[in-house]
Amino acid sequence: MTPGADLALFGISVLSGIIGALAGVGGGILVIPALTTIFGVDIHLAIGASIVSIIATSSGAAVAYVRDRLTNLRVGMFLEVATTTGAVGGALAAAVVAPQLLYVLLAAVLGLSILQQVSRLGEELPPEVVPSRAAAALRLASSYPDHRLRREVPYAARRVGLGFVMMLLAGFLSGLLGIGSGVLKVLAMDGVMRLPMKVSTATSNFMIGVTAAASAGIYLGRGDVDARLAAPVALGVLAGALLGSRILVRLRNQQVRLIFVPIMVVVALQMLARGLGLHVAFLG
């Protein structure tokens, strides 16, 4: 790559890191199409670079989120049982399942979730939740300091079982389709378990690193992680994630949702395009 291309790739990666840190998603939606359409990179190397970018987004931002108590460690670790199990299952199933239909199904699930998200656009905090018995046993209730609302916000989790099943699905799809599935993770925590939006994106951010690490070994072994591409991506995404993590604490939950919804729409369109076999620039 020329120095100019390196610089452009670095810039795109910074942007991807910022967006990923704010919305709790990996960099795949931006990094993969940018690499394949602008730089003409082979899809396998693009996915290898995107795995690196997911882990960089996750670990880079999580340093601040964990320290600032935005990440709910117990929720994250408990649900990682589901996402990693699903990811390994998905990787094993990749040989026997035709992905076309799954892309369309995923697009449909996201499409329905868009309605739910839009109906919550004006909501700053979820209504008070009575924690379920499972949530109490797992001690998932917590609180986070909201710098924008200038107070400590207590919260609880509900529908833990349904959230767990949705995380299994998220992990399965990420293992099978090679997507980060941060969007599904945020939807499980915000939409199903009713955690505050910032806690949902910060905890999703925390989890996507582990989900990606579960399949990273496969890509490393195949030689898909090419340092020439992955080095500028990793450095840019880390810088962006550090920056993004400083921004999130200053935002209202409503603003975070306003960032999340368009990303969700793009992912839904990307999945639909792949499912229908369309090749549209920047839809992958």
Binding site: I55, V66, E80, V88, E152, G217, A227, A234
Partner: protein, 133 residues
């Protein structure tokens, strides 16, 4: 963060074990991220000097390392690609180190539920690393 919220009044889970867990997890992540960023940056800067396939010790050009042997050879000869690759490997191992650190902390606290939870996650991660090829 310093500010009015730096020491919040008694959040429900602020007992010592959770606070300690947070600090340890944040530290493991910070060390992993800093170390990998330093290595990747060093590899990138070195690539500007001798090219990605070159060697700071003047060895013959070599390609991308895909196994441990090639990585070790590349590091001995200070190849930019091997240095950056070691940084990327560090980055990929950071989430696993974080799970392992949590497991140790939960074990010290005798938090049986979360010892089991983190053990399952760690075993699955290692399975993914070793079995699925």
């Amino acid at each position: 963060m310093t500010g009015p919220l730096a020491t919040p009044p008694g959040p429900p889970d602020s007992h010592r074990s959770t606070d300690e867990l947070r600090l340890v997890v944040a530290r493991v992540l910070l060390i992993g991220v800093a170390l990998s960023a330093a290595l990747v940056l060093a590899g990138f800067v070195a690539s500007l000097l001798v090219g990605w396939d070159g060697s700071l010790r003047g060895a013959a050009p070599g390609g991308a390392p895909t196994d441990v042997g090639a990585l070790a050879e590349g590091l001995r000869n200070l190849r930019p690609q091997a240095i950056a690759q070691l940084g990327l490997l560090t980055l990929i191992l950071t989430p696993m180190a974080r799970v392992a650190a949590s497991l140790i902390l939960f074990a010290v606290e005798r938090d049986r539920t979360y010892v089991i939870v983190s053990m399952i996650v760690l075993v699955i991660l290692l399975t993914g690393l070793l079995v699925i090829r």
